[in-house]
Amino acid sequence: MSDILEPKSIVNKANENIELVEFDEFINNINKYETLGVGVIIKPSDDIMLLKDSLYFIELVVLDFNDFDDGRGYSQAYFLSKRWGFKGEIIGINAHLDQLQFMLRSGVTSYELLEDYKGFNEEDYSNGFSICYQAAANNSGLKQEY
């Protein structure tokens, strides 16, 4: 497993001094946060396109995967990671064990599982296939292990 897939926590030491703000608060007060170095919490319904021009001063982005059937977070992660080359951390919160493979391949760099999944082997679900069939944020595609 590459370093990028190593699970970290949103409350790890590197992040503990970063102020986290909700998307609406950030968008309505962008100028206020430009010099502060913030993290932005994104809901699936938030328009990720509005973040594009502010990424240079955002330290980290938090994506919420709580709704098991709502797949918008995967496209949000794709835009941040692959399309815009965001270098900060992309953290998936309220993550589900069975969706780790999709989150990590879409560009999420670390995650925090929901409490329900304590005690299960995360690697079974984050690294379960010997090949993949498409390019994604974490590799260039066909026949590469993931």
Binding site: R83, Q101, D124, F129, Y133, A135, A136
Partner: protein, 545 residues
Amino acid sequence: MYQYSPEDSKFLVERVDQFEKQLNRHLAGDLDEAKFRSLRLRNGLYMELHAHMLRVAIPYGTLNSSQLRALADVADKYDRGFGHFTTRQNIQFNWIELPEIANLLRELSDVGLHAIQTSGKATRNITADPLSGLTEGEIEDARPYCELIRRWFNLHPEFSWLPGKFKIAINGAKLDETALRIHDLGLRLVRNSKGELGFSVFVGGGLGAAAMVGPETASFVALDDILSYLESAMRIYNLKGRRDHQKRLRIKFLVRELGADEYSRLVDEDWQQTKDDPELKLNLAELEDLKKDFALPIKPINLNGFEEKVDFNYSIWKKNNVRSHKVSGYSIVNISLTKLGAAPGDATSEQMRILADLADEYSASELRTTKRQTIVFPYVRKDQVFDLWQSLEKYGLASPHQGTLAQIVACPGGDYCDLAKAVSIPIATRVQQRFDDMDKLLDIGDLNINISGCENSCAHHHVADIGLLGMQKNGEEYYQITLAGETLHETNIGKKLGPSVSGDVVVDAVEEIVNVYLDNREEEERFTDVFKRIGIKPFKEKVYE
């Protein structure tokens, strides 16, 4: 015939292993029903009225005889000796015990079959013309493209949790046997003015309560750009598709609400950002390799001097069930599974094994499945068609109904499906009984009836000459009638005839409609052409008078 590589086969096994872990967690109470439902559907597993139903993919509708025998074994071992061929090139088993599912899927993976993404809100099995590679005038065999696109969207990280299911069809032939414009996304192989190969793209077609013919969103996408275009089409849907209303999840609602022009503009805007990304280019070298795997296993043969046998029953069967082949000396044979009282598309394990043996003997071990729930033998020598017919006769598989009114397409309906509002199969049986005279059927000619038991429209009733949709009124079963739907030459949604009619009289209504057609038909005129010429009024008058 194309076979999975060892790497592909390993992937299938790994997917089964993963699903087995999820199943075990569910059975142990560690994975709740809602999440398990979402996961099991992505592995083709439904909870039906009486038991679990498994939908197995038949990619691009092509099977070899070994695969069909494996499906027969599954029918015997895990079902009650039956399989049900669907309208979208899948086969379903209706009596599956949950704890046995992993073993079943492992047995299928041994022959390169799987149930991955045959359901759920992801890209479904990609369908192709069942006659791909066989007919004159075809631009190209669509199956290699189906395979490459199937792979690309297999467990795709970004598009595996879409707002709704996503069905793709690809056609390379003159006639549209795939009904691509009633799919969420349809691809038509075309050549541009420079003679280059590419695709016309149609997005937002669908049946159900808001039936819609998919508008064209791009008139020409070059071959190597198709993956990036498809990603953009799905990305706009994933981000903007309705998730707030259970009945508006499909992409057709997004296309309708935005307008086709605006949806196309958004897709194009996104696509311009990715189309030059080398990682998203279709691998043309791999495509050429795949084309070799899909090459026809026959060469032209000279049958000068061959004389066709003279037999009345054989000639009727041949007229309806045999088509000309682009390779000289060969025919395409269509085999109807229709049996009075049985669900259309149902096959017993014994029938599957017989068909597998006959395919070995007469059709280079290959079979195809169609949206009319029939089986095609794609490579039958002309001088062996009679022998094949005799064998089919012996096993009760020589129904001469292909293309006639008696070859009804029906969903399982209220007898099996917990979504159904009315029965389908008993209505199909009653129609078949009403039109059981072969002379009459031959006189009527090519006319199709499709019966769906609910608005989910699994039997595609909107695009049949005569479509019946089951519904409930005051606790009784009624049927909405639609007329003159079609997809083969052009795509049209059937027009509603009027108020729904009771199940007691629906077969009388069908007979009246057929009589109006016969009374007004000029020479070989098709049902849809008569309807366009005389309008709905004469049909309405007869049914509701």
